[in-house]
């Protein structure tokens, strides 16, 4: 747990959080006793085996699920209030673009809902499209793009309205390594420039290590946090930092953490 020497309240604060799904086969303990504090400007990655509750935790922060135990606050408020205050942008595991809207139309969707002016909408759509390298694709429909391009469009959509918190659920899962590297770099730049707080779910150890200030290792049944690793890497991170001894050491520690969590299953 991080020490709160800063002035502000933590951006995300979970205490003894538990979340149980009632299903026909009995209850599923998706999260149990999760305690975590995320400060403003943190880049926190969540890593862990399939089904360990990463998505569930992110969704709870976004008030898309409701914890059954413990407390959770976002910007000091309860998550529902934070959602209504439009505190965050969310990138889903699947792109989920609306097929009847063009790419630009999809990106403008949150802007329309939040009541931005026409001109502002155009301007922002243009900007984020170029950020994810999709200039010129604004008038295409989603199904005219490859899966990777769709995923980038969905990232652009989450960036368009410039929320302070960005929650991303395996945003780069569908991309190949080269594109992924490029987007990783872009994301780091964006984060450095805007001081956003980012929650990031991934399956990839190098990705988690490369991006994060903090890596949260989770383990399933019940979903819980088994390790929180503070990154000692500098804020400035060229791609080849991944060959540094420090990087490899952190990656090793993450892998160990994961492996121990895996002990009981697979």
């Amino acid at each position: 747990m991080k020490d709160t020497n800063a002035i502000a309240a933590p951006v995300i604060e979970a205490r003894g959080l538990g979340l149980t799904f009632e299903t026909a086969d009995g209850p599923v303990h998706a999260l149990k006793d999760v305690t975590l504090t995320v400060e403003k400007g943190d880049f926190v990655s969540f890593i862990g085996p399939s089904g360990c509750g990463k998505t569930t935790f992110l969704r709870a922060i976004a008030a898309l699920e409701h914890p059954t135990e413990g407390t959770l606050t976002v910007n000091g408020m309860d998550p529902d209030a934070a959602r209504r205050a439009r505190a965050y942008g969310y990138v889903f595991q699947a792109a989920g673009l609306y097929p009847w809207r063009t790419i630009a139309g999809n990106i403008k969707l949150p802007l329309e809902i939040m009541g931005f002016s026409r001109a502002e909408q155009e301007e922002r759509a243009r900007k984020v499209l170029s950020l994810v390298d999709l200039e010129g694709f604004g008038r295409k429909f989603p199904w005219q793009l490859s899966g990777g391009m769709q995923q980038r469009a969905s990232i652009a959509r989450a960036l368009a309205f410039d929320a302070d918190i960005l929650l991303m659920d395996e945003p780069f899962g569908a991309l190949d390594e080269i594109v992924r590297d490029r987007l990783n770099e872009e994301l780091l730049k964006l984060w450095a420039r805007t001081e956003k707080t980012i929650g990031f779910v991934t399956h990839s150890i190098p990705e988690a290590v490369y991006l994060s200030t903090r890596i949260v290792v989770m383990s399933p049944r019940p979903g819980r946090i088994t390790d929180v690793i503070e990154s000692t890497l500098p804020k400035e991170r060229p791609l080849d930092i991944r060959d540094s001894a420090e990087f490899i050491a952190i990656a090793h520690r993450v892998r160990e953490g994961l492996r121990s969590g895996h002990g009981d299953e697979v």
Binding site: A62, R83, F92, G96, Y98, I113, F141
Partner: protein, 289 residues
């Protein structure tokens, strides 16, 4: 266009079966007549007779075509003997009923999707409503609407019956359509903290369009049936339904079949029309691939 040949083939097959059926079904009468007249007939004579009877059990295709042709071109379109005139009367009521039924159906669907109480209570009764034999209540509806204090013109009364048959497919399709967005699509709007009406206009409605059009095609055919049913008891004065009934009453099989084909053509034409509107709409929405 690739379908032209297959359709023609199937039509040719149907016409062939039809001719065979006409010979088969009408021959009894030919033989009976011959027996009554006390003459012997050859099979060839019977066949040629079966294809030109006045009151055939099953009129031959060329007889029906002729009936249609004279019905359409044999007189001015404003004449009461013109199928165009009767078709027009049916068409107007159909369209009005279709509009009313579609509007009602969409409203009900919106209510059902947004209100749990409506969802739980209305749907079973909407289903039950369609099991009521419409032909049984049509006369009563006509009497009630046409008489005082309402005194509605027959057009409206017919449209009400057509609407009764229209609304159901629209409700079913529209409820399905408005519910078609997946959890993820809804969650996205939740993260924007979108209001219910924003969710409706920006997600549910566009997502429901393919479902809506699919049901509109079913509904418009049902509206034609409804109008024709309503035309039977509305005094059997005008419309394809009245034509049908008159033909039936006087055993004019050719006239029945001509009116029947006119009605089916009307329905099929409307379905095609909706298909075109669907194509245009979905293309504009980028949903036609």
């Amino acid at each position: 266009m690739r379908s032209v040949l297959p359709i023609l083939t199937v039509l040719a097959a149907i016409v062939a079966v039809w001719y065979a059926g006409a010979v088969w079904l009408n021959s009894q009468w030919s033989y009976d007549q011959a027996a009554r007249a006390g003459v012997e007939v050859t099979f060839g004579e019977v066949v040629s007779d079966t294809l030109k009877q006045d009151r055939p059990v099953l009129p031959a295709p060329h007889q029906v075509a002729e009936g249609l042709w004279t019905g359409v071109t044999g007189q001015k379109v404003t004449s009461k003997r013109s199928l165009v005139y009767h078709g027009w009367i049916t068409f107007r009521a159909t369209l009005l009923g279709f509009a009313i039924g579609t509007g009602l159906g969409i409203l009900l669907a919106v209510g059902i999707v947004h209100d749990r109480a409506m969802d739980m209570s209305v749907m079973p009764w909407a289903i039950a409503s369609q099991t009521v034999p419409i032909l049984a209540i049509a006369p009563m509806v006509i009497v009630v609407l046409g008489g005082p204090p309402l005194n509605l013109p027959p057009l409206i009364a017919k449209a009400v019956i057509a609407a009764y048959l229209t609304f159901f497919p629209v409700v079913v399709g529209m409820v399905k359509g408005l519910r078609s967005p997946e959890g993820a699509q809804l969650d996205l709007l939740k993260t924007y903290s979108a209001s219910r009406s924003q969710t409706f206009w920006k997600l549910r409605l566009p997502a429901s369009m393919p479902y809506l059009f699919a049901s509109l095609k079913v509904a418009v055919a049902a509206a034609v049936v409804g109008t024709i049913v309503a035309e039977l008891p509305s005094g059997a004065v005008a419309g394809l339904g009245a034509r049908l009934l008159q033909g039936s009453y006087y055993g004019q099989t050719v006239q029945i079949w001509a009116a029947l084909f006119a009605a089916a053509t009307l329905a099929a034409g409307l379905v095609v029309l909706i298909g075109l509107i669907e194509r245009a709409t979905l293309a504009r929405m980028g949903m036609a691939r």
